[in-house]
């Protein structure tokens, strides 16, 4: 091993620094250093880069060596003196490397200046650890994603619509041959409006808010084609609307996958080691960035707790191994029973949501506060379900007696299923109502339920808007009404009950699931409520500050920490699952349901996606032929074949790397065994030559 060579060749005294007598030796060694090919401790690309770039003489990355500063400076001087001796190309390459490194560090500093909330995240990481910090990093990622999506939507859909409306271009009415019943759409309130209606409308998206840029129904199907002298300007709003939605989804998918790739790279290089080994806790458990004596004490308690939990798991394993057959059968049957109980609870929640949605849609025209309550009923039921069912599942988990690591995973899976599928149930119920699965006669006229939903897209958008708003209101309400009082009670009133309840813990998984749920709602609703990404950006920014306040004032660090690296992949995987759910909804709306006749950019089309073939005909000849060619078999089959070839290449490459990693690991183990064998041989040889040893000792 090369570090062995270092240690032997540069025998430091115990402190690791040279004394005066040894410094001469180091000067000789440092001249050797630049002439021998040197395996640096840094296994990253810098060595490969420098060997490539400097040709015969590999330059030493001084900062990656393990020498003290004085030695590094001496080595650097030696290197500098040797540079003129090399051919000119070498020194130019060195200058280039240096320039690139300076440029990269300048760019890094510049970007750090722009990175949002950098110092806050550092403070959170120092005081509460990597797990909590990863939640806030995830939240920041979602804020930026939503903001950029909003810019996309604003640039292509919102601003042209505003411009065309202000210029005075009227919408074209539907050319389809359909009765006038379907064309009726009257969102503006009739008669006298009571003063508190303003707030009710703000909260439920009806009234003055319904016929505004917020919802689908306000956008027109204007297709502008101007052929002024010299310039040819055309803008097709419906096409822009649809394509922007498609690109928005694609953009979010690319962002998620890129981030997942970065996180997966870390996981792959560490080879998926077992998560809870003792050596990991002892040597990597201490966070050197931990600041403050309180945080340090808590970190120490945390490590103590983790070690206790591991030792406990060991005892449990030993106990489980010693169970009799009868006990095992009882335990497994109990687990199966509890599994069915959990499934039953979750299904009961789904039924409640479906019932609440139907009830809310039927009673949506009730005025006043009661009407507001009815419109918010699905959101209320979902939130209650998301709060109660995990609590009950936790109690069930106590009976199931899984080992602690399995308990956490099972609880997370249950929570994910509950949150995302409950949203799916809500959408499914809405769809049933719009396509009138129960009462066929309502849909005969206009292919959708025009009696209850004159503009069904706006109704779906309103539902998503209400969900988003309710989520934010509940978070703020919990903060003000539950978390602050809890902390005040626990701090100022010390009795057994308050000590047992204790201060709030910042539980990362459930908070992250809340974020994923919020983002899925936004994705689902973006097609029907184009300003929803903007609302979501503002909501997440408010949430960031609220959570930060509650973290610093009300919470104590969790005793059970959440691992930050493997959890990043988990968060992104759940987010991807939410994205797929939203994609299914979008595809369904675009391809299966008839757009409303009375409102929106697609009012004259049979299906939303029909706009694409129709705009095709307006393209110039050359572009049309090119696109036809791309869609034809002559292009797609060779493309498919080439991509198969590339995929096979990458799969082969990946398997080769995996095999070489496994082989190197085995080699390491073998080297250890060889060393052990050689040591044993030396021990055997020693008694055979006692005179040698005695002579040497004198």
């Amino acid at each position: 091993m090369t570090i062995e060579q270092q240690r032997q060749g540069l025998a430091f005294s115990g402190s690791g620094h040279p004394t005066d007598q040894e410094s001469l030796r180091f000067r000789r060694v440092s001249s050797r250093m630049s002439t021998q090919i040197y395996h640096e401790p840094n296994s990253s690309t810098s060595l490969a880069q420098e060997e490539e770039q400097s040709g015969s003489e590999p330059t030493l990355e001084l900062r990656n060596t393990v020498f003290p500063m004085a030695l590094k400076k001496a080595a650097r001087q030696v290197q500098q003196m040797q540079v003129p001796a090399q051919f000119n190309g070498g020194s130019w390459k060195q200058k280039r490397i240096k320039f690139v490194r300076q440029f990269k560090s300048n760019v890094r500093e510049f970007l750090y200046f722009f990175s949002l909330w950098g110092k806050t995240l550092q403070k959170i990481g120092g005081n509460f650890g990597g797990g909590v910090q990863s939640y806030f990093i995830f939240l920041r990622f979602l804020v930026i994603l939503n903001f950029v999506s909003f810019l996309l939507i604003a640039g292509f859909v919102l601003i042209p619509s505003i411009v065309f409306r202000s210029v005075g271009i009227k919408p074209e009415s539907s050319k389809a041959d359909v009765s006038s019943e379907c064309l009726k759409y009257d969102p503006n309130p009739q008669g006298l409006v009571v003063f508190y209606e303003f707030f009710l409308d703000l909260l439920s998206g009806t009234g003055f808010m319904e016929y505004s840029y917020l919802f689908y129904g306000y956008y027109n199907n204007s297709v502008i084609v101007t052929s002024l002298v010299g310039s040819h300007f055309s803008y097709n709003i419906p096409l822009a609307y649809l394509l922007t939605a498609v690109f928005y989804f694609a953009f979010c998918l690319i962002c998620i996958i890129v981030r997942m790739g970065k996180a997966a790279r870390v996981a792959v290089t560490t080879g998926g080691s077992d998560v809870r080994s003792y050596s990991m806790i002892v040597f990597t458990g201490w966070d050197y960035g931990c600041l403050g004596s309180k945080a340090t004490k808590l970190k120490q308690r945390n490590i103590y707790y983790r070690l206790q939990v591991d030792l406990e798991e060991e005892r449990l394993k030993k106990h489980a191994a010693s169970l009799t057959l009868c006990n095992k059968v009882t335990l497994h049957s109990l687990r199966v029973l509890m599994f069915f109980v959990a499934v039953g609870l979750i299904v009961a929640t789904f039924l409640a949501i479906a019932r609440a949605t139907t009830f809310s849609q039927e009673n949506s025209h009730v005025p006043g506060i009661l009407g507001l309550f009815y419109t918010y009923l699905p959101s209320i039921v979902i939130t209650l379900g998301n709060f109660l069912v995990p609590l009950l599942c936790d109690q069930i988990a106590l009976l199931e007696k899984y080992p602690p690591s399995a308990t956490v995973v099972v609880a997370l899976l249950r929570a994910v299923v509950l949150r995302l599928v409950s949203l799916g149930i809500l959408l499914f119920t809405l769809w049933k109502q719009i396509m009138c699965h129960d009462s066929r006669d309502k849909c005969n006229l206009c292919h959708y339920n025009h009696e209850d939903y004159q503009c069904w897209e706006t109704s779906v958008g309103q539902e998503m808007y209400k969900l988003t708003l309710f989520d934010l209101l509940v978070s703020i309400a919990l903060l003000v009404l539950v978390e602050f009082p809890r902390r005040m009670v626990v701090d100022h009133w010390s009795c057994k009950l308050t000590q047992w309840v204790g201060r709030q813990e910042f539980v990362v998984p459930s908070n992250v699931l809340g974020l994923v749920y919020g983002q899925t709602v936004v994705w689902t609703g973006a097609l029907f409520c184009p300003l929803l990404p903007l609302i979501n950006t503002v909501k997440f920014v408010i949430l960031f500050y609220c959570k930060k306040i509650t973290l610093f004032y009300n919470c104590r660090p969790a005793l059970r920490t959440f691992r930050s690296t493997s959890s990043a992949i988990f968060f992104l995987a759940v987010l991807l699952f939410g994205w797929i759910l939203a994609l299914v909804v979008m595809i369904y709306s675009v391809a299966v349901i008839h757009p409303s006749f009375a409102c929106g950019p697609f009012r004259s089309f049979f299906r939303m996606w029909k706009i694409v073939p129709e705009s095709f005909s307006t393209l110039p000849e050359g572009a049309r032929d090119f696109l036809f060619f791309i869609g034809s078999q002559a292009f797609s089959i060779p493309l498919f074949a080439i991509s198969c070839v590339f995929m096979c290449y990458f799969i082969a490459l990946a398997s080769i790397y995996g095999k070489s990693v496994a082989m190197l690991r085995a080699q390491l183990k073998l080297a250890g065994q060889d060393k052990q064998f050689l040591v044993k041989q030396i021990e055997k040889m020693k008694p055979l030559s006692p005179q040698h040893n005695e002579g040497e000792q004198d």
């Binding site: 091993m1 402190s15 060596t65 003290p68 560090s105 390491l668």
Partner: protein, 187 residues
């Protein structure tokens, strides 16, 4: 921006930039942090290489280090005299290795030296016991400490000599995804 500072010569700054992971600005900022610990001892002019060593008590009182249970070992490992008294070179070296840009192997090497309390180039049982006690503030019982030490040596010792050598330690660190983010002091 520019060469307005008079603390170091341009060559000195270049040398520091090559030998650490810091940029010019960060090196100057660290110099001011070093000087703030003892303004009367540290001169504002390093162009003639003054020989200034700050005693361990001052280094250990920095807010980034003062609550760290391993602060004494960190100072000892990076100091020239092995007692924790650090020159500016040592100071920069220490924070460079503990910064986020240092590679895994370099950090693993110094982490090994920090946990090697008796400086014999091996982490033996007594070193592990001291580490554990510092980690948990002496709250584990004797039996638990013994059990954990045995398990650690079981898991990490590849060459079966009852103690951890640098290779064993590095091999284990390579499988730890969190190491780079925990062995990191933000300054």
């Amino acid at each position: 921006m520019g060469n307005k500072q008079t603390i170091f010569t341009a060559q000195q700054l270049d040398a520091y930039q090559d030998c650490t992971y810091f940029t010019r600005k960060e090196i100057l900022r660290l110099f001011y942090r070093y000087r703030d610990l003892a303004p009367q001892l540290v001169p504002l002019d390093y162009t003639n290489h003054p020989d200034v060593k700050l005693p361990y008590e001052l280094i250990g009182s920095m807010p980034e280090l003062k609550d760290n249970p391993f602060r004494q070992r960190i100072a000892e490992v990076f100091s020239e005299d092995g007692e924790g008294n650090m020159t500016l070179d040592n100071f920069l070296d220490m924070f460079s290795v503990l910064s986020e840009m240092a590679p895994r192997d370099l950090k693993a090497y110094y982490a090994f030296k920090i946990y090697d309390f008796n400086n014999d180039d091996f982490i033996c049982k007594s070193d592990l016991e001291k580490t554990l006690n510092k980690l948990t503030r002496n709250e584990l019982t004797e039996d638990e400490v013994k059990m954990v030490c045995e398990k650690v040596i079981d898991e990490a010792d590849l060459d079966n000599d009852g103690r951890l050598s640098l290779e064993d330690f590095q091999h284990m660190i390579n499988r730890a995804p969190d190491f780079l983010s925990t062995f990191h002091i933000r300054i």
